[in-house]
Amino acid sequence: MQFVDEFCSPGLAKGLVEAINGLVDRVDRVDRMDKKIVLMEVCGTHTVSIFRHGIRNLLAPSIRLVSGPGCPVCVTDAWDIDSALWLSMQKDVILATFGDMIRVPGSQAQKGEGANSLERQRVGGADIRVVYSVLDALDIARNNPTKRVVFLGIGFETTAPSIALGIRLAKEQGLDNFFVYSCHKLIPPAMKALLESGEVRIDGFICPGHVSTIIGAKPYEFIAEQYHIPCVITGFEPVDILQAILMLVKARDRARIGGQCPPYNKDQARVEIQYSRAVKPEGNVVAQQILAEVFEPTDAAWRGIGVIPDSGLKIRQEYSQFDANMAFEIPQTHIETNLSGCICGKILRGIAVPLDCSLFGKGCSPEEPIGACMVSSEGTCAAYYKYVRYE
């Protein structure tokens, strides 16, 4: 039992596809209406898995899967990249980052004025190091006592507890040359912002499995209660995703029993856990505690979406000596991003697909990315480029 092969079983997948399509077919016939079931996968890892396994092509045409804002790299604001670029240029600074961030363009991307990504900055001589974990960044700080090591804190709830632990370790070990520039983002507030915008109709959420290992099911309950949209916390293998889709289609079917169609019997919506082998309803309490000890929620800017209340994490007062925002005077001049033609923002909000972008494959590709959605391998544009360009 390795929990990967078993959840890739073609036999199980086939049974699920038949169950989903059978149910949809029945609903379609009863409803006699040409209405799509729109399911949003919030997480970029789901987006990639859905494409890699060709899941879209297996489903009945009335099921539409749309991608949401769930790639931490894609949603990092150009302003934060500008700050990271500025930090990497300061005297005696080593900037440590996850590899995903290294090619993301800052605000000056298309103007060609000097370096505009960490990768280019590194070629220009900045000491920028790609690390696998925050523990590596702590090692760098320990081994370079005369330097100031700034770690670029990127990621959702999945990653943030480990960064919080890194900060606590730095305090315990008296490391005074270690800093974190926190760009962490929280998923439920972004889902709320999407729903509040009213731009996109969503009939069900495929909720991120690994974010949920940490936060559990409760933070999604408002979506079921206030917006009456069913949520399924989902694993990442094809069988996981198909089972979640079946659960969401069933939830929709359940909601219409005895009711008109639409509107649905609204009180039926609830949060379910498909990925129960790794997600407990209460989440990972140890990780939640360390997260809350070191960080507190703050408003945060999402690339292409704007500022979302309480959707980011900032370092608490007690740990402020490790906050790069406190230790450095980062210039606060917010330069308007000028990525003319890039529609990443609309894609992250689920209201456009990469094929709608005039630059897609014509000037923008994973080799020469213009927007962040093409830089990250989990970005929707990169996934489309790899898997649907020739369809």
């Binding site: 039992m1 996850f98 523990l135 990621g155 480990s162 991120p208 360390i290």
Partner: protein, 73 residues
């Protein structure tokens, strides 16, 4: 970026562990998960175990899924 993979815990040394997947062994922190034991599966993300994998639960899920397949024959 939220990629996590199930790995098997081979050896525990304080808050660190040797974890293995597909024959490759690496070090990971187990400080974020309670009660990790040798032989457990954990989800590994960015150098940290973030949760244990419940083997019984996985088996049960697979059994249910097989039933769905049979019902649709």
């Amino acid at each position: 970026m939220c990629l996590g993979i199930p790995v098997k815990v081979r050896k525990i040394l304080g808050s660190m562990a040797d974890v293995e997947t597909g024959g490759v062994t690496r070090q990971a922190s187990i400080a974020l998960v309670e009660d990790v034991r040798v032989g457990d599966f954990v989800i590994l993300h960015a150098g940290f175990a973030i949760q244990k994998v419940d083997e019984q639960d996985a088996i049960e899920t697979l059994r249910l899924l097989e039933e769905i397949g049979i019902c649709n024959l």
